[in-house]
Structures are given as structure tokens and as C-alpha cells.
């Protein structure tokens, strides 16, 4: 039965590809561009994918006897007393075995990942290129999340994109060289085929069982993102934004490639799970780099720390070349710093894809794409793929990498949130909010809150896609108006949109009623996930006081988040209409668009029900890498004596028990901050205690700084774009002047030689030929007279000729 899981998931993964092929070709050749069939195929494919995912989930659950929900989380309800005791432990790795009973394998069958090969593409010696699958509870959750959200967004797009259902679409925002609007055939089918291709790529990324496959689909989702951002390719801003997104992603992917190369060189495999080559079964990357307790096998060898890879077999020649110990143990080893490089490389890919600092600038521009694209690709799934990969590759990341990750996330979440405060474009606010929330996730994973980060990934996917779809509904309702200052009071015109949006806003802000009813907090999903992250950060802060910013910044930003989200909602839906014209023409969207909103609102509110005891969190927890829950201690090489085999760690990581112990405290902090932000927004934009414009003027410098997005675009422009332009111009000059000059010189020389050759040809060669011709002609002419036509003369000539021959013979050959 377990096999059915990956078969179903593979089917769910491949269905959109089939849909893509049918849509893109069928749509291209269909008679009219007014046909909804391609869209319906796309919806059917992704909907079927959702059904299959759920089926796979049910099979998985029944195969593991629903142990994931039945068993208590190991530390979820551990008494605080014991948690305190836990913190006193010195060697976390040793105690981990106590916490996990010997029958852990039996008890936690749901923790086991299912991996295998679907199809082997090629094998080059040890390198096996194959399409693998790696299914654990995280994969299942991602599958269900992606397919569900994608289904909702597809359905929403049925209505949203319907103005493309025409044979001649007039793009009012694109102009031809003559100044006219661009007229083109509608691209309804194309949109849905791209969406299907994206779903295929995203699901492939989630299902991928080796990191090379991950990379392939990583690039595929990048391509889809590029195509979808540039969907209105005639608009200059759209094509530029598509290019920007693609190029900035390449920067990150370069790091990804470096990481891949390091991994391949030192691990000898790409596979995540156990890999079978021939008759030999080899451990995957994760099993190599971590032992059963989740520890790194670091040893000091010849002065530098080296990580031993468990269960791997070094190649014979490698063993000879390496030092003696490696030859004896016959294990592959990797220098610690290269493991850091590999982790940073992979993380660089995550930075690009998830729009983290310093590559965050492409995501706001990506809002040039149609709103369903923003909802699906640029908030819920693709950008989350970076976080997903960071979570997936958690075992490879050393504590140093995790620290970098958390600081990157920390910078990003604050930076994006501040910009979101001043943004006025409704989609851009959401885009910055997305960047900020992705920063939260990175931070969460970075501070060892593995499950917390991914928890936030799932919840965020729901409420952010919900809000994007709401904004899409608003944009459609306001006839492609995106500027919030021209909206207002739309709550009365489009109530469904407004209140579903409010659900999303409350969810992202993390507001909750601080009481428990029936043992459950009355809160939307965002509260639980953000709470988990903040709690982890606080625990981390307790353990590493020097990194206090990693707690403080997210906490403050939680308030900012609530502020700008409520600002958005108040701006758009409350108060008096600022633009009468727009308000009068605004209307509620059709049901095909509001229905997904309601569905997503339900999920945004309830997906995290139960918080850290709830099913979603438990599902995620089931995939948590070993050792995360027990935490670790910082070993400062400058202070402590380091045993030879242990290595060092810059930071300690909080155990779950420690996190749990500060949960209530952190939750209170976060709730206060969020409430403060929301109240502030209410005061500013509804009650209008102070005129926001006044504040704007008061802190004009800061305002401009934020409006200019911390001048990152300017910085990049100065630091990279202009130098590149200048170098390119220099190269172009070199090309034009030097290389073209040389080529022209050759060309001119050839022409000159050719002209000389022509003279020789015409004078000498032709002259000779003509001379021969003329001589022949003249001789023939002079001999004409001989041809008298007189038969008898001819006979005389013959006789004379014979005679002359004889005479000649007698003269020259006398006997």
C-alpha cells in the first residue's frame, strides 16, 4: 500500500504536465480564443491532483495507523519542570538516545521517509541521474497545500482572466511605437498552460528525491515565474520585471550550483534518501551527514575539523590519497568549511528564490504579472520553495549556516515590513508583506525552529494567497486600479471580498483572543505559526543572549506587520471613498471568484487549528530532522576546552522543551505587538487621530528612504547595473572599433585584391582567350577562299596533298 503513495503523488505531479501539453498546443490551434476549455482542463488537472494528494495522505495515514495524530508530541506537553532539567544537560547528543526509546522505529513509523526511484535517466559510473521521489509528511502537506491553493487560484483565474477571452485584446497599459494601444489575440489558454506548467514544476520540486532533480524543477519554476511575470510582455514594465526576476534568481542559483558541486564531490551522490545502484544500497545525503541522533560527526584531523559521512564508502583511490585514518575507516569525509560552503550555496539558491535580503528586489516588481500569478507563484508556493528547500536541507546546514540564515531572515523581515508601511499599491504592500513573512520563515528555521518555519510556510500560503486573490478581486472591481489612495469604502460595494480579506489580515497579523475555549486558543492560523517562530526566537535568545536582535526585530516587526496590514484593509475597505468615479463603478466579483475566496478564508482561519497540538503542526513535526528537538549548546573555542572529536559551535540551539517553556511569554509579547500595530492603524486610518500625511511630512527623510525601498534598487543600479553597462559599452566600443576595424580591413583588402584579380582576368586571361579566338577566326576566314565548292579542285588538292606528303617524306626521310 505504501507504494500507492508515491504512485498517486506522481500522478498528481504529472497531471498538470499533461494538461500543459494539451492546453498549449490545443489552445494554439483552436479556432477561437474565446474558448474556456483550456482553463477547464487546467482546473480539472490540478483539482484531480488535489484529490490524489488527499488520497495519498489517507493511505499514508492508515498505513501508519494515524500515529502522527495519536501519539503525543514528544515535548509538546512535557511538564515545565522536566524542560528545565533538560536545559541542564551538557551533551545533548548523548541524551537524545534516552528520549527516543529503542522501539522508536516501530513507534514512529510515520517519521520514516519513503524514497525510491521512478525512472533512471542515465548512469555515469557512480553518478546516477534519475527521477526520484522522497515522500514524508512534509511532502504530503506541501502537496495538499499546493494543489488546494492552486485549485482555488485556478478557479479564481477563470473569472479574473476572462477579459483575455477575446480574439482581439486591447492592452491599455502597453503602447506601440506609434502611441496606440497594443492589440493582440487573447491569451487565456496560454495563461492556464503556464499555470499548469508551473504546478507541474512546483509539485516536481516538492516530490524530488535527489537534489539534482530539485535543481531542475527549481529552474523550471523559475522559467514559469519568468513567463508569468512577463505575461503582458508588451508592457515594458512587465518584460523588465520578468528579466529582473530571472536574472536575480540566477545569482542565487549560481550559489546553488556551487553547493551542488561540493555535495557531489564529497558525498558522491545527489540522492536525499537511500539510493540503490546495482545491488548496492547507499545512504542518502541526510543519512551521511547526520547520525541517528542528528549530530555531525566532527573530528579534528591534522588541525582542521573534518566531518565524517556515516555509512559512505570512499572510493579506493580516494582512500589512498587521503590521510591514513580515512583509509582505515573507509568513510568519505568533508572538511567542515566545505560543508559550510555547501550549506551557504544551497541557501543562496533559497535566498534568490525566496527573495531574501540581498536579492529581495525582484519580488515587488514581479507583481506586474496577473494577480492569480502573484497569489500562486509569488506568495504561496514558488517563493516558499526557498523555505521548503531550506527546511528539506536542514540536516546539511551547519549551525553557522543556520545563523547566517536567521540573520538574513531577520534583516529581510524588518526591511520588507518597513517598506510595506509606506507602499500604496495594494499588490506591492502584499508583496513586501510576502517578503517579510518569508523572512520570518527563514528566521524560524535558522533559529532551529524547523517545524515553526514550515508551519508558517503553510499558514502563510493560505492567508497570503487569500489576500492576493482579494486584492485581485478589488482590482477587477475597480477596473484595474491598484493604488490604495484612490480606493476606500469598498466594504459596502464588495462585502465578501472585504470580509474574507479581513480574515486574512487578522491571520497575518497574528491577532487572537487571549483566552482558551475548550482548550483551544481562539485564533486564526497566522497567530499560531508566528507565535511558534517568535517563541523559538525567544528561546534562542535566552540561549545566545548576544543574538538578541533575532528576537527583538521579529517581535517589533510583528507589530509593524499588523499595522500595515490593517492600514491596507482600512485604506481599501473603510472610510469614505476617495475616488468617486472608481467607487461608483466598483462591484462585487462574480461567484467564480468569490467562492475560492471563501474556501481559502476558511483554511486561512482554520488550517492551524489547535496550534502546536493541532494536526498540521504534528504532520510537520513528523518530518522534523532528528536532533532538532533536543537542541544543542554553544561551544566557544575561546572559552571552553574542546575535546578532539567534538568540534565547536558558535551558537547553541534551543530544545523544544525550552521553546515550550517560553511559549506563553513569547505569545504574549507577539500578541501585544500585533494588537498595538492594529490599534495604531485603526487610530491613524479610521479614527484619524493624526493625519498620516502629517507624519509623512514630519519624517520626510525616512519616508523617502522607505519609498525608495531602502535604496536597494539604486544601490544595485550603481553597484552592478551601471558598471555592467559601462563595461558592456566599452566592449561594444572595442567590438565596433577594433574587431570591426580588423574585419573591415580584411574585407577592403579582399575587395582590392579582387579588383586586381579582375584586371588580370580581363586583361591577360580574356585577352589570351580572345586572341586565340581571333586568330582562329582570321585563319578560318582566310582559308574560306579555298573552299571553292568545285569538286574537281578538291580532287586536285587531294592529289597535290598526297604528292606533297611523298615529297616531304623523301626530303626528310631519305632512304
Amino acid at each position: 500500500m505504501l507504494d500507492w503513495i508515491w504512485i498517486l503523488l506522481t500522478a498528481a505531479w504529472l497531471l498538470p504536465l499533461l494538461g500543459f501539453a494539451v492546453e498549449v498546443f490545443g489552445g494554439y490551434w483552436q479556432q477561437s480564443r474565446r474558448d474556456r476549455t483550456p482553463a477547464l482542463i487546467a482546473v480539472a488537472c490540478i483539482g484531480a491532483g488535489f484529490v490524489l494528494s488527499v488520497a495519498a495522505f489517507i493511505i499514508w495515514g492508515s498505513e501508519t495507523h494515524w500515529g502522527v495524530f495519536a501519539a503525543e508530541p514528544e515535548h509538546g506537553d512535557v511538564p515545565a519542570q522536566q524542560a528545565v532539567e533538560d536545559t541542564t544537560r551538557e551533551a545533548a547528543a548523548e541524551d537524545a538516545s534516552e528520549l527516543q526509546p529503542a522501539d522508536a522505529g516501530q513507534q514512529h513509523s510515520y517519521r520514516k521517509a519513503i524514497s525510491g526511484t521512478i525512472y533512471t535517466l542515465a548512469r555515469f559510473g557512480d553518478l546516477k541521474l534519475s527521477i526520484d521521489y522522497y515522500v514524508d509528511s512534509l511532502t504530503l502537506v506541501m502537496f495538499m497545500m499546493v494543489t488546494l491553493i492552486a485549485t482555488c487560484i485556478h478557479i479564481f483565474a477563470l473569472g479574473y482572466m476572462s477579459d483575455e477571452l477575446t480574439d482581439e485584446y486591447v492592452d491599455h497599459q502597453a503602447h506601440t511605437a506609434g502611441g496606440d494601444h497594443v492589440h493582440r489575440p487573447g491569451r487565456y489558454y496560454l495563461f492556464f498552460s503556464y499555470m499548469s506548467l508551473f504546478c507541474f514544476s512546483m509539485l516536481g520540486l516538492v516530490l524530488a528525491g535527489n537534489i539534482f532533480q530539485v535543481f531542475i524543477f527549481w529552474e523550471l519554476v523559475g522559467i514559469c515565474s519568468y513567463l508569468l511575470i512577463g505575461f503582458y510582455v508588451e508592457r515594458h514594465s512587465a518584460s523588465t520585471a520578468a528579466n529582473k526576476a530571472f536574472i536575480m534568481n540566477r545569482v542565487g542559483d549560481f550559489g546553488f550550483l556551487i553547493g551542488l558541486m561540493v555535495i557531489w564531490t564529497y558525498f558522491g551522490t545527489f540522492s536525499l534518501g537511500p539510493e540503490t545502484i546495482g545491488d548496492e544500497t547507499r545512504p542518502g545525503i541526510f543519512a551521511m551527514v547526520r547520525n541517528a541522533e542528528g549530530g555531525l560527526d566532527i573530528r579534528n584531523e591534522s588541525g582542521s575539523p573534518v566531518v565524517h559521512l556515516n555509512g559512505s564508502v570512499a572510493e579506493a583511490d580516494d582512500a589512498g590519497a587521503a590521510d591514513g585514518e580515512a583509509a582505515v575507516t573507509a568513510e568519505r569525509t568533508i572538511p567542515y568549511w566545505l560543508l559550510v560552503v555547501a550549506g551557504l550555496g544551497v541557501f543562496a539558491g533559497c535566498i534568490g528564490k525566496s527573495a531574501q535580503f540581498p536579492l529581495q528586489t525582484w519580488l515587488p516588481d514581479a507583481m506586474e504579472g496577473p494577480t492569480p500569478v502573484s497569489a500562486l507563484v509569488h506568495s504561496a508556493t514558488m517563493v516558499a520553495a526557498g523555505v521548503y528547500l531550506a527546511g528539506r536541507f536542514y540536516p546539511v546546514f551547519t549551525p553557522d549556516v543556520l545563523l547566517v540564515m536567521s540573520y538574513v531572515g531577520c534583516i529581510t523581515l524588518f526591511l520588507a515590513a518597513t517598506i510595506a508601511v509606506v507602499a500604496t499599491d495594494i499588490k506591492r504592500v502584499l508583496a513586501y508583506s510576502t517578503i517579510s513573512q518569508l523572512g520570518y520563515m527563514m528566521l524560524g528555521i535558522g533559529v532551529a525552529g524547523w517545524a515553526a518555519g514550515l508551519f508558517h510556510l503553510i499558514t502563510h500560503a493560505f492567508f497570503k494567497s487569500l489576500m492576493f486573490l482579494c486584492s485581485g478581486s478589488v482590482i477587477i472591481g475597480c477596473h484595474h486600479e491598484q493604488e490604495m489612495p484612490r480606493m476606500g469604502g469598498l466594504r459596502r460595494k464588495m462585502p465578501i471580498t472585504a470580509y474574507t480579506m479581513l480574515v486574512g489580515v487578522i491571520a497575518i497579523s497574528g491577532l487572537a483572543i487571549p483566552f482558551t475555549i475548550l482548550g483551544m486558543k481562539l485564533a486564526f492560523s497566522g497567530y499560531h505559526s508566528k507565535d511558534a517562530i517568535v517563541a523559538t526566537a525567544l528561546a534562542f535568545n535566552y540561549k545566545n543572549p548576544v543574538h538578541f536582535l533575532l528576537f527583538l526585530v521579529p517581535l517589533v516587526t510583528a507589530g509593524i506587520t499588523a499595522f500595515y496590514m490593517f492600514r491596507l484593509w482600512f485604506y481599501t475597505f473603510c472610510g469614505e471613498p476617495r475616488d468617486r468615479h472608481i467607487y461608483d463603478h466598483a462591484h462585487e466579483s462574480p461567484r467564480v471568484m468569490t467562492l475560492p475566496l471563501i474556501v481559502l478564508a476558511v483554511f486561512a482561519a482554520g488550517v492551524a487549528v489547535g496550534g502546536e497540538g493541532g494536526p498540521l503542526y504534528r504532520m510537520l513535526l513528523a518530518s522534523e530532522p532528528a536532533g532538532v528537538d533536543v537542541g544543542s549548546e554553544a561551544i566557544d573555542p575561546t572559552v571552553a576546552f574542546i575535546p578532539e572529536d567534538v568540534g565547536y559551535a558558535l551558537v547553541g540551539q534551543p530544545a523544544r522543551a525550552e521553546i515550550h517553556s517560553v511559549h506563553a511569554q513569547a505569545g504574549a509579547f507577539a500578541l501585544i505587538a500585533a494588537a498595538a500595530g492594529a490599534v495604531l492603524a485603526f487610530l491613524l486610518y479610521v479614527v484619524r487621530v493624526v493625519d498620516p500625511g502629517e507624519i509623512k511630512r514630519q519624517v520626510g527623510g525616512l519616508y523617502r528612504f522607505l519609498i525608495e525601498k531602502w535604496h536597494f534598487d539604486t544601490l544595485y543600479d550603481v553597484a552592478f547595473v551601471r558598471p555592467v553597462h559601462r563595461v558592456a559599452a566599452a566592449l561594444a566600443w572595442f567590438d565596433r572599433v577594433v574587431i570591426d576595424g580588423i574585419l573591415h580591413w580584411f574585407a577592403n583588402t579582399s575587395v582590392r585584391i579582387a579588383s586586381w584579380d579582375r584586371k588580370v582576368d580581363e586583361g591577360l586571361v580574356d585577352g589570351l582567350v580572345n586572341l586565340v579566338g581571333n586568330v582562329t577566326f582570321r585563319v578560318g576566314r582566310s582559308l574560306r577562299a579555298v573552299q571553292t565548292g568545285q569538286l574537281r579542285q578538291y580532287i586536285m588538292f587531294i592529289a597535290l596533298g598526297v604528292l606533297s606528303l611523298f615529297v616531304l617524306q623523301f626530303i626528310f626521310f631519305p632512304r
Partner: protein, 102 residues
């Protein structure tokens, strides 16, 4: 004087030269034809004489037979040509047929 090959060859030469001169002097087309016959005949005398006086043997005679036969055929064709010539020019004077002069 012993009658040998040389004497026959001289007779053949006389016939040949007479034929050539005949062809060269006669304006009458039939006369030209007769010259041709004489030339062929002179050649025939040579062949037969060689056949008698050299190891050529019967081969010489056979070749002369071929010459006779072909001469007859040639005479027939030439006569037809002469008749055509006559039809076209209303004369048999070969000097009148100089259309092919250069």
C-alpha cells in the same frame, strides 16, 4: 624482263592515276564516277597482285572482292545522287554544284 609484282603494281598505278586525273578533269558527273571506278580498280589490281606474290594469299583476293561489291553499291548510290543533281540543276555539270563554297 621478268614479269613480277612490280609490273602489276605499275599497271595498278597507271589505272589509279588515270582515275584521279579523270576525276579532276571531267565536268560530267558520270565521268567523275568513271574516274572513281578506275581508282578502285587500280587498287584492286594491287590487292590481287599482292595476293599472288606475297603471303597475303587469299586474303588479298577477298578484300578485292569486297572492294568490287562496295564499288558497285557506291556506283548505285552515286548514280542516284547524280540523278538528283541533274533534277536539281537540270545539268550533270559538277561545276554548277558549288553551293557549299566557303
Amino acid at each position: 624482263m621478268q614479269i613480277g609484282l612490280s609490273e602489276y603494281l605499275i599497271v595498278g598505278a597507271v589505272l589509279f592515276v588515270a582515275g584521279v586525273v579523270c576525276m579532276a578533269t571531267k565536268r560530267n558527273g558520270i565521268g567523275v564516277l568513271m574516274g572513281v571506278e578506275l581508282v578502285l580498280n587500280g587498287a584492286n589490281v594491287n590487292f590481287v597482285a599482292f595476293a599472288r606474290y606475297t603471303p597475303l594469299g587469299l586474303d588479298g583476293q577477298i578484300i578485292s572482292l569486297f572492294v568490287i561489291v562496295l564499288a558497285a553499291a557506291e556506283a548505285a548510290v552515286a548514280l542516284a545522287i547524280a540523278l538528283n543533281f541533274y533534277n536539281n540543276h537540270m545539268t550533270i555539270d559538277v561545276d554548277r554544284g558549288d553551293q557549299l563554297k566557303g
